[in-house]
């Protein structure tokens, strides 16, 4: 009998965790990644990772963490899965600690915890302000150990193009392209786990890395997988302005005492502290972003008349800042020139994270058997708004679910991929080779990079912090138009070796399909919930919309279906951050 193999696509936290879990069971993994895995986007996460370690004498609990997460997500997340994640969190942190993550420490050598938005207790473990990088490096090291032992084979510099699906509709591997030689190759596998991250690049300017195009999710969407809750895109309240990207200034800056303000009547106005006395600067991100947007755009009170407010650390001791926030202070200093220890930072909300993503069941399997998704590319844990420091947690945790679930799937298969006839592999390979040839020959007038910029500009304007149906309809028309214009792209690079324009053109196609799903989701959801705020429907409407939107691809655009949310543990209640939140009492 031939040996089973699992393909993991993506070398960020979720993909590496899934890989580790599979390799530990002695099963071979092919790990595909666009970049050397150590350069994955997880390295950009700064502030920390949530776990109710309860080492601060506050009586924190996994129940409180669960309640904060569900409440913060405006009750749209499936509760059973979130509860399991919060319960697993302390164990995960301790595991990462054993593996060597350089977490910041307390005086007696325990993992230190800091405050974060939308939660009252100190619950966020951190390593300075580079927590994502530290966790990613640790997982990279562990996977390198398995690579050295031969269980894991890395394919770095390969791009996922599509899933291979057999006649019975089961996923049997994937087609990927080598970004240097441009070779297109079928990878046979008995399960495929996509851990391909979010799609910030759909908005062109965001806090994400350039590889975060959502292209892989867009590809399997067109192959029949569902996307879910795509209208929920997190806009981080504190990002640096920039032409090439909006750089994240971590929420930990506020967790450690940073204050947001602007001038009103010639005096500093700490508007978050005034509007939300209970949580102040630590309201969740959707709330803070809307407040900053209102102060700048509606009230015209931005600093120097521009769309920007201050994030102020100058009242905090320099030694404390260097130790706790050195990572972000460096970034600000380098890219802006001002020293945040002495001058308040200028910030404005920026596109940051996709709460929505590939629809999966509680085992992280898509509707295509054998095809899994975990990490930011799935939709599972954050509902309508993600709490800060829950993303590193969901990335790691989902990898501990998708990996073992993929093994379970393999154990139930009658035949492994190696024992199948070559038909389904050849068919998909030929489809991708033909598509590639079409792209290479594209001889129109549009430059793909300019087209992308236009897409991003429209998405930021029409599907951003504040939305309305008129703009969303206009955006939908634009998306249909840009789909046509994509066909008129010009292949501006005429070499057949390490040609980045070929892969970008393919990614752009998938980004446009994803943008369509985001727009339609936002258009149909006539309510305001979490990050999705519509001026024409400013209230949450549980009767109609306490539902997951599921987007199905058709040639004529995405079709939306609705699915009930798992609210089996706590009853939905009004979400407000003006007063202290009482955790729900039902349950344990």
């Amino acid at each position: 009998m031939s040996k089973a193999k699992i393909i993991v696509v993506g070398g960020g936290l979720s993909g590496l965790m899934a890989t580790m879990q599979i390799a530990e069971k002695g099963i071979n993994v092919d790990l595909l990644s666009l970049v050397p895995v150590k350069r994955s986007h997880s390295v950009c996460a700064q502030g920390g990772i949530n776990a109710a370690l309860d080492t601060k004498g506050e009586g924190d609990s996994t129940w409180e963490h669960f309640d904060d997460t569900i409440y913060g997500g405006d009750f749209l997340a499936n509760q059973s899965s979130v509860k399991k994640m919060c319960e697993a969190a302390p164990g995960l942190i301790y595991t990462m600690d054993r593996m060597g993550v350089m977490f910041s420490r307390t005086v007696e050598g325990l993992i230190d915890l800091r405050n974060f938005g939308g939660q009252k207790n100190k619950r966020t473990a951190f390593a300075g302000a580079t927590t994502g990088a530290q966790l990613e490096y640790c997982c990279d090291e562990q996977v390198r150990k398995h690579e050295a032992s031969g269980l894991v084979k890395k394919f770095e510099g390969w791009e996922f193009l599509s899933a291979i699906i057999d006649e019975q509709g089961i996923c049997r591997g994937c087609i990927a392209q080598n970004l240097v030689t441009m070779e297109i190759h079928p990878f046979k596998g008995d399960a495929v786990i996509l851990a391909t991250g979010g799609g910030g690049m759909i908005y062109a300017k965001s806090t994400t890395s350039t590889i975060c195009t959502g292209s892989a999710a867009g590809a399997i969407f067109q192959q029949g997988a569902y996307l879910a809750n795509m209208e929920f895109v997190q806009i981080h309240p504190t990002a640096m302005l920039g032409d090439d990207k909006t750089r994240l200034m971590s929420e930990s800056a506020r967790g450690d005492g940073g204050r947001i303000w602007t001038y009103k009547d010639g005096k500093p106005w700490y508007f978050l502290e005034e509007m939300y006395p209970a949580y102040g600067n630590l309201v969740p991100r959707d709330i803070a972003s809307r407040a900053i947007y209102n102060v700048c755009v509606e009230m015209g009170l931005g600093i120097d008349g521009e769309n920007q407010v201050y994030l102020d650390l100058t009242h905090l001791p320099t030694e404390f800042l260097d130790r706790r926030l050195g990572g972000i202070i460096e970034i600000y200093e380098k890219f802006n020139g001002d020293d945040p220890r002495k001058v308040p930072m200028k910030i404005f909300p920026g596109i940051h994270y996709f709460m929505g993503g590939i629809h999966v069941n509680e085992n992280h399997m898509t509707c295509i058997p054998g095809l899994f998704a975990s990490g930011e590319c799935d939709y599972m844990y954050h509902g309508a708004n993600r709490l800060g420091a829950n993303s590193l947690l969901s990335a790691l945790y989902s990898g501990t679910i998708s990996g073992p679930a993929a093994i379970k799937h393999i154990n139930g298969l009658n035949k492994l991929s190696n024992e199948l006839e070559n038909k389904c592999f050849d068919q998909e390979l030929h489809r991708q080779i033909e598509y590639n040839e079409k792209i290479v020959r594209m001889n129109g007038k549009e430059n793909p990079y300019n087209l992308h910029e236009e897409l991003g500009e429209k998405m930021r304007a029409n599907v951003g912090v504040v939305r309305n149906n008129k703009d969303l309809q206009a955006n939908e028309c634009f998306i249909r138009e840009i789909k046509e214009r994509w066909n008129n792209i010009n292949m501006v690079d005429c070499l057949g070796y390490s040609n980045q324009v070929i892969s970008f053109t393919k990614e752009l196609k998938n980004m446009i399909e994803m943008a369509h799903a985001i727009t339609i989701g936002a258009l149909i959801r006539n309510e305001s919930r979490g990050s999705h705020y519509k001026t024409d429907f400013p209230e949450r409407n549980d009767d109609e919309f306490l539902r997951t939107s599921k987007s199905r691809y058709t040639q004529n655009g995405p079709m939306i279906e609705w699915e009930e949310v798992d609210i089996s543990i706590i009853n939905p209640r009004k979400r407000s951050y003006g007063e202290d939140k009482e955790a729900a009492q039902n349950g344990e």
């Binding site: 970049v35 350069r39 350089m102 050598g109 990088a133 032409d243 501990t400 501006v492």
Partner: protein
């Protein structure tokens, strides 16, 4: 500021086997640009300074905030992250509109234009066993306590993003040697300091003392100057020199 331009001279190469050549570009100036954002302008309109159509310049980048280590290149001869190299800062040194020269790092094989193959650096991490050996990735309770005092300096080493700048600057990393280079050596100190990692420190010290190891360091001190994460690489190399000497004496007596 109208009509000002950024002039670039870029070393280009179509493939690993072909010969390099130079091409110049002229990009309209905007405040706050960096090398990556200038390269992005080229691909939107791939035309050289003579007005001829050309292939867009190929380079590597990802995070654009100097965390991922992808965009290392030689900028006016110095190994740096392109994203964090602000045009205005470069001009402060050289004068406005002075030509900026971009080249791929020279210690690594070129793939195309400014992209290079750095997989040897990741292989070096395998050679020194750069990981903490644990029983598994499952939860079995709290990890060991670790003093804040130690964490403070070890954390700085753990910020290494394997960008290759120190390899580039080190005269002892060259085609004639198989020196693992400064960054991999410093990683040994990180893993030998962690309470669980320290249980296997001899394995890493042995690796450091083998062919291409710490003895190849000529103490040129260049690595420390170019490290974008300001890791005091030479301090760690000196400490490991002491550790390996102590260990070899111990090994000699215990044999």
């Amino acid at each position: 500021m109208e009509n000002r331009h950024i002039k670039l001279k870029i070393k280009r190469q179509d493939s690993p086997d072909s010969l390099p050549w130079w091409e110049e570009f002229c990009i309209p100036y905007k405040p706050n640009m960096n090398i990556v954002s200038v390269l992005m302008e080229i691909r939107k309109n791939p035309v050289n300074s003579k007005g001829e159509k050309t292939n867009p310049v190929v380079w590597e980048c990802n995070c654009l905030e100097e965390v991922c280590g992808a965009c290392s290149m030689l900028i006016n001869g110095i190994p740096k992250q392109a994203c964090a190299s602000l045009i205005d800062k470069i001009y402060e040194k050289t004068g406005f509109e002075k030509k900026i020269v971009l080249e791929p790092l020279k210690k690594f094989p070129v793939i195309r234009d400014l992209t290079i193959d750095r997989h040897s650096m990741f292989d070096n991490l395998k050679r020194i066993k750069a990981w903490v050996s644990v029983d598994g990735s499952f939860a079995i309770g709290r990890g060991p306590r670790f003093a804040e005092r130690e964490q403070k300096w070890a954390y700085v080493i753990s910020r290494c993003m394997t960008c290759g700048c120190c390899q580039e600057a080190c005269p002892n990393v060259n085609p004639k040697s198989n020196f693992i280079g400064p960054s991999a050596i410093a990683q040994v100190r990180l893993f030998n300091t962690h309470p669980i990692g320290a249980m296997h420190k001899e394995i890493r010290l042995n690796a450091l003392m083998s062919n291409g190891g710490i003895q190849e360091c000529g103490n040129a001190q260049n690595c420390r100057k170019v490290c974008p994460k300001e890791i005091p690489l030479t301090t760690h190399i000196a400490a490991l020199n002491r550790d390996t000497v102590k260990y070899s004496i111990w090994r000699w007596f215990s044999e």
